[in-house]
């Protein structure tokens, strides 16, 4: 079914000006399911009798789409594997892994199977599935419920990694992820769910693999995604008052990374700072930093700075959670350092 239908849907006209991520993602699932009957949704608690998902992202879907939407047993290996199987024969499953740390119980189906079946079958099969999951510190969920593990998947060829930062992107990227012929892990941030943002235009897809220039600037390129896009803009505005003009880029898709947009920007500014919530070492920032250094070594005016969390598990007590995460002050200092 074509996207035109969704684009012309009356819902578009009625959309409110501001919505939050939960609403945007719910629309994306709903519109994807109505556009293509091969889209199916499952995961723990996600059907309406079980509440439509723990933050209600799939609210209303099982009522509307029946058995295409199912609550599963607590069996991530089982149901993620089931998504792989259904995808191989043409379904477009969207499965929810309630919190990102739980990928650890089903890595095999994601990394050894979903990511590799296209290659190992010599292109005879492919796995157009989406794994939605959420995570993030700041909720006292402790060491086993808060990790950002995107780097594991970025290092797994065959899978794409999408991490939206705002409702409109969430909608458009999730629609694209569902349509994508390859497996996508779609990582949501708990901190972003309730932040209102511009309402998405329903039916409007945002291509995967394209970053977004959130704020044009000329002095230093600050690259973020997901949660860090809540932190970078206020710091950039603060610095603007001191005459430091940041170009802020939201990666949106972390793998594949939009090197064209990034390098064009850094070529212009000569400076770059990378920001993510995942712990610092061996994170996405390392790859980004390496690529920038490799491509623009002679043009860079300062080494690329990385701003990220401590190399520790996520602690429970709020002051420790704060100590774990980078602060706005650290971010500001890193940006200033590139200009020193």
């Amino acid at each position: 079914m074509s996207e035109t239908q969704a684009e012309l849907s009356p819902a578009a006209a009625k959309a409110p000006a501001k919505v939050n991520m939960i609403q945007a993602l719910n629309w994306a699932l709903d519109d994807a399911m109505s556009a293509d009957k091969n889209v199916i949704v499952f995961g723990e608690e996600i059907a309406d009798p079980e509440g439509g998902g723990i933050v209600k992202i799939s609210h209303g879907l099982s009522t509307k789409y029946g058995s295409r939407v199912r609550s599963t047993p607590i069996s991530e290996m089982g149901f993620v594997g089931a998504a792989v199987g259904a995808a191989v024969v043409g379904f477009k499953p969207v499965v929810e892994i309630m919190l990102m740390n739980f990928v650890a119980v089903c890595m095999d189906q994601i990394t050894n199977h979903a990511a590799k079946l296209r290659f190992m079958s010599g292109g005879q099969t492919h796995v157009p599935m989406v794994i939605r999951t959420m995570t993030g510190s700041g909720f006292q969920n402790g060491g086993q419920h808060s990790d950002f593990l995107e780097a594991w998947f970025c290092h797994t060829p065959g899978i794409k990694v999408v991490m939206p930062s705002n409702p409109a992107d969430g909608y458009g990227l999730l629609r694209s992820a569902i349509n994508d012929p390859d497996p996508v892990i779609f990582i949501e941030h708990l901190n972003n769910y309730w932040t209102p943002g511009d309402a998405p235009e329903r039916g409007k897809l945002i291509p995967l693999g394209k970053a977004r220039i959130h704020r044009p600037g000329k002095d230093v390129t600050v690259i973020g995604y997901s949660r860090s896009m809540l932190d970078i803009p206020p710091v950039a505005e603060k610095l603007a008052k001191d005459g430091i003009d940041c170009e802020v880029i939201d990666l949106r898709t972390v793998q594949p990374m939009d090197m064209e947009t990034i390098l064009t920007s850094v070529k212009k500014t000569g400076r770059a700072v990378v920001v993510h919530e995942a712990c610092r070492s061996f994170g996405v920032g390392a790859e980004l930093s390496s690529r920038i250094h490799e491509a623009l070594f002679r043009e860079l005016k300062a080494p690329v700075e990385r701003v990220a969390s401590e190399d520790s598990p996520v602690p429970y007590a709020p002051p420790l959670e704060q100590a774990f995460l980078y602060t706005h002050a650290e971010l500001e200092a890193a940006i200033r350092k590139t200009l020193a």
């Binding site: 609550s71 047993p73 607590i74 739980f102 007590a317 709020p318 100590a323």
Partner: protein
């Protein structure tokens, strides 16, 4: 094995543990509602009889592994209320210095070894504790707690099989509260009874009313005797209910009203109190005395937690490895 009925002293000890669990839970929820405490808290109100009736038969040497919904298990096994409360409050005086929180309670000196937030993960770890005991020729048992929903995850299967082939002294206690988060038992679980699954491993599987201390007591007694005798693991399914939803804030819309009402009618706590008095295992006055003592204990625990300091930021660099990170 000669099995014995619990004497009055034991029955009262069970009551005491149940009271400790219930009072602490009521008070935590009170503190949360009053805004004095903030956290994701998984109340086990309604399930207190299970760890109480098991733990009276355990020593400090015996090991316990439990889950996010495990405050009751920990208190019953001996985690001091002060250390619990300070941990919940995220204070440096907590059992885990405020680093673990309700999902990761630990207190080795009472055998409280691991609390996990990952469904199913308590069981493989319990096998390792059992293996340690077996290799050392000790008589300890390990109790591994988990929920009904957890019986559908792979770790359950691997652990029961491993414990069975190695004859490990582990007691797998499924606290079947009939819901896994918002999912009703039969939506996720194909077995009529979880205890039926013991047949896959050639081990005993026992289904008991988890709200009946005597039933839990005697199922545990047999399992403990079997484990201590080196005969291997047992699966106990104790059927119960949780009154406060999956976590505080869960309004429980997914629970049919009739089922909830029926469960409340079966609340093990008042039922057991009445039964003790009725059968003259204790006088009401004696039990009032216990209640009062426990109230004091919780008062002290709360005061201790509230007056304690938060951990210093440097703690984020400690305990990652044996040596502090840079």
């Amino acid at each position: 094995m000669v099995m014995t009925q619990p004497d009055s002293k034991t029955l009262v000890a069970i009551y005491e543990k149940m009271t400790l669990i219930k009072h602490s839970d009521d008070r935590v929820i009170g503190a949360m509602k009053a805004g004095r405490m903030v956290m994701p808290y998984y109340s086990a109100r309604g399930q207190e009889c299970i760890p109480a009736a098991i733990s009276v038969q355990l020593t400090d040497e015996d090991y316990l592994v439990t889950i996010y919904r495990g405050v009751h298990d920990m208190l019953a096994k001996g985690l001091p209320p002060k250390l619990l409360w300070a941990e919940l409050a995220g204070k440096v005086t907590g059992s885990c210095k405020g680093k673990g929180g309700p999902m990761h309670l630990t207190y080795p000196s009472k055998g409280c070894m691991v609390t996990t937030g990952i469904v199913g993960a308590s069981m493989p770890i319990a096998c390792g504790l059992g293996l340690a005991t077996q290799l050392r020729g000790e008589k300890r048992v390990t109790v591994a707690n988990f929920g009904d929903g957890a019986s559908n995850i792979g770790a359950f299967h691997e652990s029961l099989n491993l414990a069975a082939v190695w004859k490990l002294p582990v007691i797998f206690v499924c606290q079947n509260n009939q819901y896994a988060e918002h999912t009703a038992y039969s939506t996720g679980t194909s077995a009529a009874k979880i205890s039926d699954r013991a047949a896959s491993y050639g081990i005993p599987g026992v289904h008991v009313d988890g709200n009946d201390p005597i039933a839990v007591y005697s199922a545990a007694q047999q399992a403990i005797a079997r484990a201590r005798a080196g005969e291997g693991p047992t699966l106990i399914e104790a059927k119960t209910f949780r009154f406060n939803g999956h976590l505080i804030g869960d309004a429980g819309e997914y629970i049919p009203k009739a089922i909830y009402a029926e469960a409340v009618k079966n609340d093990p706590y008042p039922r057991y109190r009445n039964w003790l008095v009725e059968h003259q295992h204790a006088s009401a006055t004696q039990l009032d005395g216990i209640d009062a003592a426990i109230k004091t204990l919780i008062d002290e625990a709360e005061a201790f937690a509230m007056s304690s300091a938060a951990p210093d930021a440097i703690e984020v660099k400690r305990d990652v490895y044996a040596t502090e990170i840079a």
